[in-house]
């Protein structure tokens, strides 16, 4: 049970800081209950800090605009009436935000060090499949928007690789 809980906390922590944070939590807390309480208080800060370190606000904005325009264009061609509904203009933003969220988390949970091109494509692929499954817009719009957005996102990620902080290993 104790080891299972520690493994779960380890899974929640981004790999770049997993080692030291798990060690610190283990050292500070003799009992499992205290370990869990400490982990609940600490892990969200660690994740937020990792996202801050790996996210590039300018690149994120570029992604957001590009993705919104892709889904907007898809809605314009496939179901123009949808855009005239109340909050119609905001609806293409939902899949765009979902993709951005997945990309943010993917970068935060990436192992430190440089990533291959194949690894950089994993995040967008997961994100677009997730958006399709979430069905936040009619399937045709999601497919068309995804077909436009996926290559664009891949190009952006390959040309502007996500940041990776150069933390050192053992000395």
């Amino acid at each position: 049970m104790g080891n299972g809980m520690r493994a779960l906390v380890g899974l929640l922590l981004p790999p770049a800081c997993r080692e030291e944070v798990l060690g610190d939590l283990h050292e500070r807390n003799a009992t499992l209950a205290r370990f869990c309480i400490d982990a609940i208080r600490t892990v969200p800060h660690v994740i937020a800090s990792r996202i801050r370190r790996t996210a590039d606000p300018q690149l994120l904005l570029l992604h957001a605009i590009a993705l919104y325009l892709c889904y907007y264009a898809a809605a314009w061609f496939e179901a123009r009436a949808l855009l005239r509904e109340t909050w119609g203009l905001a609806r293409p933003a939902i899949p765009a935000l979902l993709v951005l969220l997945v990309l943010l988390l993917e970068d935060a949970y990436a192992k430190p060090g440089s990533r291959s091109r194949l690894q950089l494509t994993r995040g967008p692929l997961i994100a677009f499949v997730g958006v399709f499954l979430a069905q936040s817009l009619p399937p045709k719009i999601v497919l068309f928007g995804g077909a436009l957005g996926l290559p664009l996102t891949l190009v952006l990620r390959l040309f502007f690789s996500p940041q990776s902080t150069s933390r050192q290993g053992p000395v």
């Binding site: 520690r6 800081c17 080692e19 030291e20 944070v21 798990l22 060690g23 610190d24 939590l25 283990h26 050292e27 500070r28 400490d38 208080r41 600490t42 892990v43 969200p44 800060h45 660690v46 937020a48 800090s49 990792r50 801050r52 370190r53 902080t165 933390r167 050192q168 290993g169 053992p170 000395v171």
Partner: protein, 123 residues
């Protein structure tokens, strides 16, 4: 020579903790020192991690992983030390704090200084 950014109060506490812990500056030891410096306020370990990350990004501290130890469940420590820029930033903050202290003491008098000095010793 690069000029350090001005530090927030919590950043000053964390840098002071790293300075005073010396070779033994890592997450848990830095947190306990920061709690000691910030008393009576409590400080979360997460807040210390966030600040350490920010200080590292600003180039004020450097970190590295030590060897794993059994008391930490076979996990390594991330040790920290001040960079030259961090030392300068802390120095500037300390000088500013001293000026603030002197300014207040000048107006509120020697009795106030004595009273606070006594309080620090007993706390």
């Amino acid at each position: 020579m690069a000029k350090p950014d001005s530090l927030g109060q919590f950043e000053q506490l964390v840098l002071t903790a790293i300075l005073t812990r010396g070779e033994d500056a890592y997450g848990v030891s830095i947190h306990s020192k920061v709690e000691e410096l910030a008393r009576p306020k409590t400080v979360s370990l997460g807040a210390v991690y966030v600040t350490l990350d920010r200080l590292e990004d600003k180039g004020l501290v450097k970190s590295w992983l030590s060897d794993p130890t059994p008391e930490r469940g076979g996990r390594a420590k991330r040790c920290y030390r001040l960079e030259a820029l961090g030392e300068r930033a802390l120095e500037e903050s300390a000088v500013t704090a001293k000026r603030v202290w002197d300014g207040i003491a000048e107006v509120w008098g020697k009795e106030w200084v004595k009273q606070w000095s006594k309080r620090w010793v007993t706390e």
